[in-house]
Structures are given as structure tokens and as C-alpha cells.
């Protein structure tokens, strides 16, 4: 178990550390830097959309419970940029939908 945990820890650390270690020392071409501006939005989209369009069995489909809860959270986040508010609203709506669906 110790070897497993240390092994997992090491291989997880490598991709987290290498870019931070080297790119803070070498410069980056301008193009690449500009491209990195789009990384947060790309990654966040790649996390959010599959949550809504994959069901529990891992097949593509409309996951109604999640999509219905996501809509008010999306609108609320747009109007009020509050992380707390969004998380609490999301949990409340998801919970409420559990009684209806």
C-alpha cells in the first residue's frame, strides 16, 4: 500500500510540477501565451458539459436531473457572480428536483 501511494503521489506530482518549474524560467512564445488564456474556459467547459450529457452508465444522453438543476445555476451565476450562492442554489434545486423527478 505504501509503494502504491508513493507511486501515485510521484506520478501525479510530475505533470503538476514540470510546467511550473520550467515555464517560469524559460519564456514562452507569444502565441502560446495567448493560447493559454483560453485554457481555463476550455477546461471548465470540458468538465461541465460531459456532466450534463452523460448518464450514470457512461453513455451519451440528456441527464435531465443535472440539466434542470444547471439552468438556474447558470442564470444565477451570470447575474450574481457568487460561488457560494451558486453552490447553495445548485444543491437546493437538485435536492428539490429529487422529489419531483
Amino acid at each position: 500500500m505504501l509503494i502504491l501511494i508513493l507511486g501515485m503521489g510521484t506520478v501525479t506530482f510530475i505533470p503538476r510540477f514540470l510546467p511550473m518549474a520550467f515555464l517560469t524560467r524559460w519564456g514562452l512564445p507569444k502565441r502560446v501565451k495567448e493560447g493559454l488564456d483560453y485554457i481555463p474556459i476550455s477546461i471548465l467547459s470540458a468538465i461541465v458539459f460531459p456532466i450534463l450529457f452523460f448518464n450514470e452508465e457512461g453513455t451519451v444522453g440528456i441527464r435531465a436531473h443535472y440539466i434542470l438543476a444547471a439552468i438556474p445555476v447558470f442564470i444565477f451565476s451570470w447575474k450574481v457572480k457568487s460561488l457560494w450562492g451558486s453552490v447553495l442554489l445548485g444543491m437546493l434545486v437538485y435536492w428539490g428536483l429529487g422529489f419531483v423527478l
Binding site: T12, L23, L83
Partner: protein
């Protein structure tokens, strides 16, 4: 001053805590069921600290798979952090390797997204990012150990808990939409991520979408500039 930044980071990350505690507990419960002690579950959350790969490791352990394949799977699952680490590196030019090592050890999807919701706050302020990441990892470890010790008392599928981190990500996604280009990139990345997740095993889709969609983003931006 340093201290204030750390505190501000902690405050910014409290919504992550709300999500990490229950998910950490879920991990602890599963780890216990797969035969890990609370100490082992806690150690994994301290030394590995990567949700998806920890859950996968537990599943593989309970199937009797040896450590080699589990470590390899972990490596590939967590490759996506390359992109986040690269993005963060722009804000910490020339900082000491020890600081950078500490910051990268605690890098997760959630803390990255919260940090990038206001990049001006993290630029050259390792204490702020450290605050975000430290409180997040404490929540994760506390949840894991708590779950492994007395997890059965709480049902982590109740009270909207499954949707807590999803809501956090939705809000962080919305915060990133700062111009029309971002909206396009979001739609493109959304479509790609679903296609990639469908086509490839594991979570390659995050890394692939990250590279492709940000490439397209910069292409759209340059095409727009040429017109002017």
C-alpha cells in the same frame, strides 16, 4: 501582508470546502470498504490528492489489481494538470523552486478554476494561491479520514451533495466568459468534450479538449484581428 493574502485565499476557496468535504467522505467510505485503514485513506489524500484517480485506485484495489497498473492509470488521469500548471506558470515567473513545488503539489481542477476566476489576485502572490489550495486540501483530507472512520452515518447522495461541485464548476465557467470569443470557445469545447469522452476511455477528453479548444480560440482571435 503575506498573511492577509493567505487569508483571502482561504476565504475565496470556502465554496470548494463545501464540495470537497462530502466527496472526500465518499472516498473515505469506499476506501474503507476496499480494505484501506483510515490512516491509509488519509495518507493517499495527503500524498496523492487527486480525486478522480483516488476513486479509480480504490476501484482497482478492490478488484485485486496490483500497484503497477494503478500507478500508470493515475499518471494518465492526471496528465491534464500539465495544462493548468502551464497556465499558472505565467503568474509566477522567477519564483523559487521550493515555492513552486509546494504550489504544484496541491494543484487541482477546483483550486485552479477558483484561482483563475480572478487571475490578477494570484499574479506573483504565492500566498494567495497557497491559501486557496491549503484549505481545499485540508477539507479533502478531513473528509477522507472522517469518511473512513465513521462514513456510514452520512449519506453522500442526499441533500443535493452530488451537485455541489457541478454547481461550483458552472459558476466558475460563467465567470470565465469575458468576451464573445469565450462564448464560442465554450460551445466548441462543450461539443469536443462530449465527443472525446464518448470516443476515448478515461478522462483524456479534458486534456484533448483543453489543447484543441484553446488552439481554436486563439485562431478565432487572430482571424478577427486580421479583419480589422
Amino acid at each position: 501582508m503575506e498573511n492577509d493574502q493567505f487569508k483571502n485565499g482561504v476565504k475565496a476557496a470556502l465554496p470548494i470546502v463545501l464540495g470537497y468535504l462530502p466527496v472526500g467522505m465518499a472516498f473515505g467510505v469506499l476506501a474503507r470498504t476496499a480494505g484501506l485503514t483510515p490512516f491509509e485513506a488519509g495518507s493517499m489524500s495527503i500524498l496523492v490528492y487527486a480525486g478522480a484517480s483516488q476513486f479509480l485506485a480504490i476501484e482497482m484495489i478492490s478488484k485485486g489489481i496490483p500497484w503497477g497498473p494503478i500507478v500508470i492509470a493515475t499518471f494518465f488521469i492526471n496528465l491534464r494538470h500539465l495544462l493548468m500548471s502551464s497556465t499558472l506558470s505565467l503568474h509566477f515567473k522567477g519564483h523559487r523552486l521550493r515555492t513552486l513545488g509546494l504550489l504544484s503539489a496541491q494543484l487541482t481542477d477546483e483550486s485552479f478554476a477558483v484561482a483563475m476566476s480572478n487571475p490578477s489576485k494570484i499574479s506573483n502572490r504565492p500566498s494567495y494561491l497557497f491559501g486557496i489550495q491549503m484549505i481545499s486540501q485540508i477539507a479533502w483530507v478531513a473528509g477522507s479520514v472522517g469518511g473512513a472512520l465513521f462514513g456510514r452515518l452520512v449519506d453522500h447522495k442526499e441533500y443535493g451533495i452530488p451537485f455541489a461541485l457541478s454547481s461550483l464548476f458552472i459558476c466558475l465557467l460563467v465567470i470565465q466568459i469575458k468576451k464573445v470569443h469565450h462564448l464560442w470557445v465554450m460551445v466548441i469545447a462543450g461539443i469536443f468534450s462530449i465527443l472525446f469522452k464518448w470516443a476515448f476511455p478515461g478522462n483524456w477528453y479534458i486534456l484533448l479538449t483543453g489543447i484543441l479548444a484553446s488552439g481554436i480560440g486563439i485562431a478565432i482571435e487572430m482571424a478577427g484581428r486580421d479583419k480589422k
